[in-house]
């Protein structure tokens, strides 16, 4: 197995079966729907136009490209729709490095070359984003090839393996043809996805958010900077935006929608599922800087008569975030907050213990109109994991979690 770079292949002479120089390599193409890494064909610039040369018809690559068919057999290139053209679509473009969790620019592309059944087989090994690729591109043709190879050997290479590269394509039709689904990107932590997306241009961001699954998109959206968040939501169409916002935590969704122009918010709300719409609309009514404005309505509340067994069942059935699971609240038949039981106590208690006996003393809560300063102080003073929010009648309305407070405090730092 030997290595070859795209810039070395581009522009090299192509000889047909008769040994005559018939053209130069103009493009190297993959068919992603068939094989993500194998080079499928070359586009050769001949005196009679651009022609397609399937890789199976190549007998050798050394200095130039030797084909085993006659030049006249090569088909004329037309639209090249389903092809990934490496020079046009990948070289000098930005791609996502899923392993390094950032956006990088492609300087050159490295191939692995093997001989299989007597013919060469070329596979994309990775993209070069470092000095070696850059220097090779700059000095090609200027410095003799042998000297160049020797020089490049000394330069450190920064290569990203092909399996960690996620392409960015803004045309939806092409995304389908090139099978760009961002499945690799989707496996990253939402905060990392958000970091990557923040480095992209608006059109590219929109492309990513249209392709990711709704729940992944929702998590990533929550982690974006507010300005970028707004820009992304405004670029999506209302139905897609609604699909994503539905999957978000109600408080995060409410924060996001509160910042949008009214008609846009209305358009999105209308397309949401009724249950989620209800939750978000309730939260939207509260003023932002109060406890009610910061809380989430996803929490676990059980009747005062519940036992730890009921609690564990409720925890298993809970679909919200883990932060909301750290405390289970006890309410009476009218919804009045009676007690709060930390998760740790439930785990340590014997089976089927009454929950009321495990309730934390004293019961700390905050009123819905409480100012940010006040409830932040409560978190600090009592080392809270969660803070329940109540109305004048002591009914439990929602819960503030530490990430809300940290978020708030960081904005002031």
């Amino acid at each position: 197995m030997s290595s070859l770079a795209l810039s070395e292949l581009l522009g090299s002479t192509v000889y047909d079966a008769s040994g005559a120089a018939s053209g130069r390599v103009r493009e190297v193409a993959l068919v992603p729907q068939e094989d993500r890494a194998k080079i499928a064909l070359l586009i050769v610039k001949t005196p009679s136009g651009n022609r397609l040369l399937p890789f199976s018809a190549i007998s050798a690559i050394n200095g130039g490209v030797r084909a085993s068919t006659a030049a006249g057999d090569w088909v004329l290139a037309d639209g090249a729709e389903g092809l990934l053209l490496l020079s046009r679509d990948l070289l000098d473009q930005q791609v996502i490095d899923v392993h390094g969790r950032k956006v990088v620019r492609v300087n050159d592309i490295d191939f692995h070359q093997e001989i299989v059944v007597g013919r060469p087989l070329l596979k994309v090994g990775g993209v070069d984003v470092g000095a070696r690729g850059a220097i090779r591109r700059l000095l090609k043709g200027v410095v003799p090839a042998a000297a160049l190879r020797a020089l490049l050997h000394r330069v450190p290479a920064r290569e990203i393996p092909w399996e960690f590269v996620d392409l960015i394509e803004t045309d939806p039709a092409r995304r389908v043809k090139l099978k760009i689904s961002h499945e690799r990107l989707a496996k990253l932590h939402p905060a990392d996805i958000a970091d990557i997306v923040e480095e992209l241009a608006p059109d590219e961001r929109e492309a990513v958010f249209e392709t990711l699954d709704e729940d992944v998109a929702a998590d990533a959206l929550e982690e974006l900077e507010p300005k970028v968040q707004k820009s992304v939501v405004e670029s999506l169409d209302s139905t897609r935006a609604a699909d994503i916002v539905e999957e978000m935590e109600p408080d995060a969704a409410a924060d996001l929608l509160a910042d949008l122009p009214e008609e846009r918010t209305a358009e999105i709300l209308v397309r949401m599922e009724p249950e989620e719409r209800q939750e978000v609309t309730e939260l939207l009514e509260f003023r932002e800087n109060t406890a009610a404005g910061r809380m989430t309505t996803e929490y676990i509340a059980l009747p005062v008569t519940a036992s730890t067994n009921d609690a564990i069942e409720a925890l298993r059935a809970f679909e919200g975030r883990m932060e909301s699971m750290s405390t289970i609240f006890l309410t009476d038949s009218r919804g009045t907050l009676v007690g709060a039981v930390p998760l740790a106590k439930i785990v340590l208690a014997p089976m089927a213990s009454p929950m009321l006996g495990l309730a934390q003393e004293p019961l700390i809560s905050t009123h819905e109109d409480a100012k940010e300063k006040d409830f932040a102080e409560l978190f600090d003073k009592y080392n809270l994991l969660t803070l329940p929010v109540i109305d004048e009648k002591n009914h439990l309305m929602g819960v503030i979690t530490p990430d809300d407070v940290i978020n708030m405090l960081r904005a002031k730092l």
Partner: protein, 416 residues
């Protein structure tokens, strides 16, 4: 009442986007600008005034193109050049920009040295201290807060307008000169040189990269882009009105009294005498210092960003030195070397500053050519490609500047 409220909203909206265009235009009147316009007025009187109107029109068109490209593509100019034309061309362009911008940085330090000299502070003290201050402003991330101070202080430029008014220039003559270019005999070598310099300082290549990046960073989208257009136009007009007055003020004082060459900042300060009398020195020094420091904190940073983005290096002041070495090195070397050049004893500093602007003018066509090629690509700009009028104006500017540069070089080679 509703009418008033609508106006208030319009004004608030305008002030909210007021930024990239206005700032870029103000930084346009940096030390290089002030010195070049002053020299133009001193050396040729009113004879260069006619360049103001065509240059302003060209400036508005070029800046608007950058703002539009930034808003529509969401990418900086060097990014676009890289993606459409590849590494080699980008590399050559970046080298050109680096050299050109370095000349401009030197010019800013000339301004710092000159203005501090008027206060009696020798350049060997003033330049290193200011270089460190400039370096810290960007690296410590205080740029945003300092920006407002600089902008406010930019209103010092009004002194030139007032000076021009008080200098009792020959109004008829100056207004005529604003419309009529000189006859063929007036186009000597030095005159052509100055024309290139005046255009180069007004439409500096670095400004195009800076403006487009600012628009992208501010997150201006296609929808909000119209407000930015207004910001750009207002900025350009303001900057060129000030330029006009600088030339007139210098023409009416220096040229009229046969001071045809500005050897140092003190000479240029004289132009403010009629308005400010003995305060002329103080006002000029403050204005020049503010302009130089402002530009010196933007220009090296912008250059470092442009080059790093074009060549794919990590960049950003929020990163540590070890994470973005190329960026920090570029930035630091630009400032350090710029200051160092100015400290070499015996250099004709004003001439160097003016020369750097002439280099601007010579490099400008190349940047314009790329901008024109990019902005007319439908797959890049959708329906926001150039109108025919804009294409004509921009291409005309390109051709004229190439022509002028060739004429000048040819004239020099012939010993003319």
């Amino acid at each position: 009442m509703r009418f008033l409220r609508r106006w208030k909203i319009q004004i608030l909206l305008f002030l909210a986007v007021l930024g990239p265009g206005f700032i870029t235009a103000n930084v346009d009147n940096d030390a290089n600008g002030i010195l070049t316009y002053s020299q133009a007025g001193a050396q040729f009187g009113y004879l260069l005034l006619w360049t103001m109107i065509p240059t302003t029109v060209a400036l508005v068109v070029v800046q608007e193109m950058c703002a539009r490209m930034g808003a529509v593509t969401g990418k900086g100019l060097s990014d676009l050049i890289r993606e459409e034309y590849g590494l080699r061309i980008t590399f050559l362009m970046m080298i050109g920009i680096l050299i050109t911008n370095f000349g401009n940085v030197v010019g800013e330090f000339v301004g710092i040295a000159g203005s501090m000299g008027l206060f009696g502070v020798p350049k060997y003290i003033a330049v290193p201290i200011c270089a460190v201050i400039v370096w810290l402003i960007a690296v410590k991330g205080q740029y945003k807060s300092v920006e407002k101070i600089f902008l406010g202080a930019s209103f010092f430029y009004i002194t030139y307008v007032l000076a021009g008014l008080r200098a009792n220039p020959a109004w008829i003559e100056s207004l005529k000169a604003t419309i009529k270019p000189p006859t063929a005999s007036g186009w000597t070598g030095p005159y052509v040189y100055m024309v290139i310099g005046v255009v180069g300082t007004t439409i500096a290549p670095w400004m195009q990269f800076y403006l487009q990046s600012s628009i992208v960073e501010k997150g201006v989208t296609r929808r909000q882009y119209n407000a930015s257009k207004l910001d750009v136009i207002v900025g350009c007009i303001f900057t060129d009105v000030v330029a006009w007055f600088i030339i007139v003020a210098c023409a009416a004082t220096l040229y009229a009294h046969n001071v045809r060459d500005i050897r140092d900042a003190a000479d240029a300060a004289q132009a403010l005498r009629p308005f400010a009398g003995d305060w002329a020195y103080l006002l000029f020094a403050l204005g020049l210092f503010n302009a130089s420091l402002f530009a010196a904190s933007i220009l090296p940073l912008s250059t470092a960003y442009t080059v790093c983005e074009g060549l794919g290096f990590e960049s950003g002041v929020e990163r540590k030195f070890s994470e973005a070495p190329a960026f920090y090195w570029l930035y630091t070397v630009l400032i350090a070397a710029g200051g160092a050049v100015v400290m070499i004893p015996g250099l004709p500093l004003i001439k160097i500053a003016v020369f750097s602007q002439v280099v601007n003018g010579a490099v400008l066509p190349f940047v314009l050519i790329f901008m024109l090629l990019l902005i007319n690509k439908k797959e890049l700009m959708d329906e926001y490609t150039n109108t025919r009028l804009f294409n004509i104006i921009a291409w005309a500017t390109t051709v004229v500047m190439i022509g002028l540069t060739l004429i000048y070089v040819y004239g020099q080679l012939r010993g003319g």
